[in-house]
């Protein structure tokens, strides 16, 4: 008599637990013909990422476009890179207010990672940075400056305000774009801002016309700790790449100056506002789990009491206790279901083909070709061609390169797949 209701309740709860947290969107997928047409002019190495961006839906689209853009730059296909970054930035710039996926991510019962990826501040800054570098190649200094200014703006929210908008390299590059556009006054303003934020940052000389950018090491990684993985953390990959860069141009050896560490940018931001929401979700999960455990124990005691009363022939009392036990059991199951459904996990998707550090140097025109040496201590661990590319007007030249060890990127972005059971 008592076992039957409990079995029914258990079955109901199993059915509840197996209910998907969110109904899968029914987006009509593109045909293979459409996909192939889209991929036809993309660089080979970036095609799997462009495919993911096209077919994977909104949730990871920006992440895959960022990764595809950078792989396209590595492959020297700047047109595809610009296309990918423009699409990513269009979504980053879009103000997500009353957005369904963003609203859903605030719910106690849905993971933060359900939201459409726009990246953390340092990732958004880097998307603008790369777009700015591409504009410098085109000689479009107005839009290059706008991109670097936007990169700096992405860094404006920091818990500790001394770290707000402290991406000094972006001010240097805004100044560089102004210098190349023939506006030394505006360039000087940006250089002053850069020096205020970082006293050690190297400022280009007025006669410099060549900008050399290099990147070393692997991206900082996101991970989560806390009882329910509700705290977003960053892991540094400093030391995974070369420790220095030398630009050999003409007869000159120019040492790369430190631009920025992305781990520093990521980790000095402090807590996010969404962390408060995740903490609330974790607290809810903890509280409801405790309530479920307490109610379960009370239900067990009531059932034992009902059995005892039944054995003494007190059927009326046994029934009352059985109902009480049933009520407590139902309450416990409800609490357990709520606890199980709560998803406080932090979103740990990240842009994994970013570098760890940015290095740069400027010089007057010294030659058309040279070599970039990536050093680890005194040893040269890799070299790449240094070929500053003049802008269409011939005002300034730019060279952008990366430590070749940083090129590799898996097809699937880290932590980008939503696991239903966790």
């Amino acid at each position: 008599m008592i076992r039957e209701p409990v079995a029914l309740l258990t079955a109901a709860c199993i059915a509840l637990a197996s209910t998907p947290a969110a109904a899968a969107p029914k987006v009509k997928p593109p045909t293979e013909e459409q996909i192939q047409a889209y991929l036809a002019d993309k660089p080979e190495a970036a095609r799997p990422l462009f495919r993911q961006a096209m077919t994977g839906g909104d949730r990871n689209q920006v992440l895959y476009l960022m990764r595809a853009g950078l792989v396209s730059m590595d492959a020297g296909d700047f047109r595809s890179a610009a296309e990918a970054l423009d699409q990513a930035l269009a979504k980053i710039e879009l103000v997500y207010s009353n957005n369904p996926s963003a609203d859903k991510a605030r719910s106690k019962f849905v993971k933060e990672a359900v939201k459409d990826f726009k990246g953390e501040g340092y990732e958004r800054s880097m998307a603008y940075y790369y777009r700015g570098v591409l504009y410098l190649h085109e000689g479009d200094y107005d839009n290059a400056r706008a991109s670097f200014m936007s990169a700096q703006l992405q860094d404006q929210w920091a818990e500790d305000t001394q770290y707000a908008s402290d991406f000094a390299l972006m001010d240097v590059l805004s100044g560089w774009a102004s210098q190349c556009a023939g506006d030394p006054g505006l360039a000087s303003e940006f250089y002053s801002k850069a020096s205020e934020k970082s006293a050690d940052i190297s400022i280009p000389a007025a006669g410099d016309r060549v900008l050399m950018l290099a990147e070393v090491g692997r991206s900082p990684e996101k991970w989560a700790d806390g009882k329910y993985q509700e705290n977003l953390r960053y892991k540094s990959n400093a030391g995974t790449g070369p420790s220095g860069v030398t630009f050999r141009l003409g007869d000159s050896d120019i040492f790369g100056r430190p631009g920025e560490s992305l781990y520093r940018q990521a980790s000095t931001r402090g807590g996010r506002e969404v962390d408060t929401i995740l903490a609330g979700k974790a607290s809810f999960k903890n509280t409801t789990a405790g309530m479920a455990q307490g109610a379960g124990q009370a239900a067990m005691m009531a059932v034992q009491q009902a059995n005892t009363m039944q054995s003494y022939g007190n059927y009326s009392g046994a029934n009352t206790m059985a109902y009480a036990g049933l009520a407590m059991g139902a309450f416990g199951l409800l609490s357990a279901a709520a606890s199980s459904a709560a998803k406080p996990q932090a979103d740990t998707r990240y842009w994994d083909n970013l570098p760890e550090s940015l290095v740069f140097a400027t010089s007057p025109p010294l030659g058309a070709f040279g070599q970039i040496e990536y050093r680890s201590g005194e040893s040269v661990v890799a070299t790449t061609l240094l070929e500053p590319r003049p802008d269409p007007r011939g005002t300034c030249s730019i060279s952008w390169s990366r430590d070749p060890a940083g090129y590799a990127v898996p097809e699937v972005a880290p932590n980008s797949e939503l696991k239903k059971k966790s």
């Binding site: 963003a102 991109s147 929210w157």
Partner: protein, 218 residues
């Protein structure tokens, strides 16, 4: 028997409640765009469904219409006995704002609307086509082609005035936890006399916008 029946009714109610509570949260997603969206015609002079704090189509239309009206009401530009020759392009129209933008969308619209509305009171010179014109002039003078129907001129057209301008912005972010970003945008337009350097006409268009991303992005 009666007790057993009442217990079953109670259990069914609890089960239904459990399932309802558990699944309610999954049903709130706006699915209206899940199957994509048919192409829709939008009025570019109105704010669209996708917007931010920067310059948008309605600003471009609003500002260029206003500048065209103002220039045409200026006697130094549009009231001369001989129509002045003017260059309206993006060469000296700079973007110093934090917004990436194709400036030509503004200058092209200005030139086209001015050209149509001025009705001969201003003449527009396409300096960006100078190389193309020089090539055709050479073909005519070398006899590779005939002279056409409008005749030859001694040189390409000299210009009296040129449009200059600047797009600037000032961004600030609220540090009160609201995540609000505020942007003041200012676009200035000036017509410069290319002989004397005198600015014969100026105007500006400005606006400010504030917005905040969802808290999950802050």
């Amino acid at each position: 028997m009666a007790r057993r029946t009442s217990c079953r009714v109670w259990l069914v109610a609890v089960s239904v409640a459990l399932v309802a509570v558990g699944s309610a949260h999954a049903q709130r997603r706006d699915k209206s765009y899940d199957k994509g969206m048919k192409v829709q015609e939008l009025d570019p002079s109105q704010r669209g469904p996708v917007s931010g704090v920067g310059i948008e189509s309605q600003d471009i239309i609003g500002m260029t219409d206003r500048m065209v009206r103002d220039m045409l009401s200026n006697p130094q530009l549009a009231g001369r006995a001989t129509a002045p020759r003017v260059i309206v392009d993006d060469q000296y129209f700079t973007n110093e704002s934090s917004q990436r933008l194709n400036k030509r969308i503004i200058t092209d619209r200005l030139r086209v609307n001015l050209n149509r509305a001025s009705n001969g009171r201003m003449m527009f010179v396409g300096r960006e086509y100078a190389a193309m014109i020089a090539q055709e002039r050479e073909l005519k003078r070398e006899g590779v082609t005939d002279v056409g129907t409008t005749g030859l001129t001694k040189a390409q057209a000299g210009v009296d005035f040129r449009l200059t301008g600047r797009i600037t912005s000032e961004d600030s972010a609220a540090q009160d936890g609201s995540g609000r970003i505020h942007r003041f945008n200012q676009i200035t337009f000036e017509m410069v006399d290319l002989e004397s350097g005198v600015i014969v006409w100026s105007n500006l268009y400005d606006f400010a916008r504030v917005a905040a991303d969802s808290v999950v992005y802050r």
